[in-house]
């Protein structure tokens, strides 16, 4: 019997999703201080595994307890013995959870069938991925979707390619969402992908750009991390790879590139949020991009989008020494941010990563620059710390709209300065 029980526990643990079949939520309305004390002592009883949704704090407030089915009869008897009346406000928690899940799935399906998406909201990976297909269907002569590889947990990584033809045209790379908690980054990516597709043909400058160059957009550069911020930990930053010899998972994907790898600003500890990983490009998510860029061989600009701090930066992070092209990159950055600021007054600082924010080795734009992609930039979007990672969704569109002005400036400059 014990081995069966153990197996069930293991299965449940492996599935990593708890079930609440038969669990009930009881509501207790306290009638005296004595009853309050009784319930407060219940909080310390571990064997019944009570989960207080509303803690016993005062006689004025209800107490809600999720009672596992195995403890139900014991608890009800206990309450009756103490003359503490209760009502069952949820009869079978698992049923309620299942209903909610079905509803959410239906909502997802509805989103797919309306060819529109709310750009002013944060979306799940599933919604973003299915919208990509919608975009390709709407603009088949401009947009294609390419799988560039899989994530650690085997999720596909998709790049949207904006191209009017040619063979291996000079190209611009944009990635968003590499640090999964920076939600406004992929939200901006989504809006921007739509902007590029919908403005093609009507915006003269963008149209001329796309007549000679391609744009590649990787909206979710860290799909596993992004899902994890929805399901488990909103503040997760890294990938979700297993680190051998450690209970801690994940590598900081922006310390994992082969550029000053293992240098300043990156941690050797797997539990750290800036862990650089066991070796450069150890993370499949990074390797997939590296392989694409290298095999393409004709990228002229590489732009990584992060949040927060309101910065537009150029290399290097791994050293504070100026790059050879510093003057040019700095002037592009200033002109780009001036355009950004012109819309809502959002103020950005410009400079190299090492001086502006911190020394940080193993970063993507250092790698791209050292590969020969001169116009390498990193954005840190809104805000400057008030909401930080939890930027309200009503700021997504203003952020994307102002950032577009800067992005466009950079892309136009790249178009006009072939090398």
């Amino acid at each position: 019997m014990k081995s069966v029980w153990l197996l069930l526990v293991l299965v449940a643990a492996v599935k990593a999703e708890r079930t609440f079949v038969g669990d009930q939520v009881l509501r207790i309305t306290l009638q005296s201080q004595e009853q309050l004390r009784v319930l407060q002592s219940l909080e310390h009883e571990e064997e019944w595994q009570l989960d207080f949704w509303l803690h016993p704090v005062s006689t004025d407030l209800p107490v809600d307890i999720r009672v596992p089915s195995s403890s139900l009869s014991t608890i009800k008897e206990f309450l009756l013995t103490h003359n503490i009346p209760f009502t069952v406000i949820i009869e079978n928690l698992q049923e309620l959870i299942d209903m909610e899940k079905t509803e959410m799935e239906e909502n997802q399906k509805k989103k797919q069938s309306t060819r529109s998406i709310n750009f002013g909201a944060y979306h799940t990976l599933e919604t973003i991925y299915s919208w990509m297909d919608t975009l390709v269907t709407q603009y088949p002569h401009l947009v294609t979707k390419q799988e560039i590889g899989k994530s650690y947990e085997n999720r596909p990584m998709y790049v949207l390619k904006f191209s009017t033809g040619g063979t291996n045209r000079p190209a611009i790379w944009i990635d968003t969402g590499i640090h999964s908690r920076e939600w406004v980054s992929p939200a901006t990516g989504l809006w921007t992908a739509n902007k590029i597709a919908s403005d093609f043909g009507s915006d003269a400058s963008l149209t001329s750009l796309l007549n000679t160059m391609d744009i590649y957009m990787l909206i979710l550069a860290n799909p596993d991390g992004y899902v994890y911020t929805h399901t488990n930990d909103r503040m997760w930053r890294k990938t979700r790879s297993l680190n051998s010899g450690s209970l801690c998972r994940g590598v900081d994907p922006n310390r994992n590139w082969d550029a000053g790898f293992g240098g300043p600003g990156a941690s050797t500890s797997p539990c750290s949020d800036s862990y650089h990983g066991p070796f450069a490009h150890s993370e499949i998510e990074v390797k997939n991009v590296v392989d694409l860029i290298k095999s393409h061989g004709n990228f002229k600009s590489f732009i990584s989008v992060h949040a927060y701090s309101q910065l537009l930066m150029y290399p290097y992070g791994y050293t504070c020494t100026d790059v050879a092209d510093k003057a040019e990159l700095d002037s592009i950055g200033r002109a780009a941010t001036q355009k950004l600021t012109s819309l809502y007054g959002t103020y950005y600082k410009v400079g190299n990563i090492c001086n502006i924010i911190y020394p940080a080795s193993g970063g993507s734009i250092d790698w791209s620059y050292d590969t020969g992609i001169k116009y390498s930039f990193a954005f840190e979007l809104r805000d400057t710390g008030y909401y930080g990672f939890l930027l309200p969704s009503n700021q997504i569109i203003p952020t994307a709209t102002e950032t577009w002005l800067a992005l466009k400036h950079i892309m136009e400059y790249v178009r006009d300065h072939p090398y």
């Binding site: 803690h55 503040m235 949020d273 800036s274 400079g351 001086n355 930080g388 939890l390 309200p392």
Partner: protein
């Protein structure tokens, strides 16, 4: 680290200036008053023998709720040595309003009654939303957390409030409102999210006072 005139846009000056923000919020922060660092206007730094480093700063502080900017002059001293001592700050701004407001009084009275003890989680939520009723407690939480951030700041940190994981109002006999909380702080330099238990009080007259603060290990997954 650089000494003498500092580039106001580079991180050494900004980190020191951030400490001034935390200092201002510990002294003047309330449910309806909060400061943000807008800009560093100028900065110099000097070593003080072996005891530490002192920064002189001119900054522009932004009172977030009234959306007013003002210039402040400040000195931040980071002591050297083990164990690490907190930074020492002096600051004076163009106009630091001390008077309590009618809004603060009204909030205080409403929650003093002990009939509606506050209990809330995840402010802001994952989408960055905060219920209008909870906004004053978001600001109050930032002000209270500023005590932690001020205490923990060094030349190698840059703290911001990340989220209020949990805040519960406790019954109390004294005049102040009392809160137990779990605060999540973000250090930009290490990129870590730090979890802190914070027990604090507030009243319009007394301002924010911290009774207990303790860092707790974050659950690893």
């Amino acid at each position: 680290m650089a000494t003498g005139e500092l580039n106001p846009n580079h991180f050494p000056a900004r980190r020191a200036a951030k400490v001034v923000q935390h200092y201002l919020n510990t002294r003047y922060g309330s449910p309806y008053r909060l400061f943000g660092l807008e800009e560093v206007l100028s900065a110099t730094a000097e070593d003080v023998d072996d005891t530490g480093r002192r920064y002189h700063l001119q900054i522009s502080a932004h009172e977030i709720i009234s959306n007013r900017k003002q210039k402040c002059s400040a000195e931040v001293f980071f002591p050297r040595g083990e164990p690490t001592q907190p930074a020492e700050v002096k600051a004076s701004c163009e106009e630091l309003l001390q008077n309590t407001t009618a809004q603060e009084e009204a909030l205080y009275q409403r929650y003093k009654g002990n009939h509606s003890l506050l209990s809330a989680q995840y402010i802001p939520d994952s989408q960055g939303n905060i219920e209008p009723d909870m906004m004053p407690f978001w600001h109050l939480s930032i002000a209270a957390s500023s005590f932690i951030m001020l205490n923990e700041s060094t030349e190698n940190t840059l703290y911001n409030m990340a989220q209020v994981a949990q805040i519960t109002q406790l019954e109390t006999e004294s005049d102040e409102l009392k809160f137990d909380s779990l605060m999540l702080l973000h250090d930009m330099v290490s990129q870590e999210i730090l979890h802190w238990k914070l027990l604090f009080t507030w009243s319009p007259a007394g301002g924010v006072k911290v009774q207990q603060m303790k860092q707790i290990p974050k659950p690893h997954h």
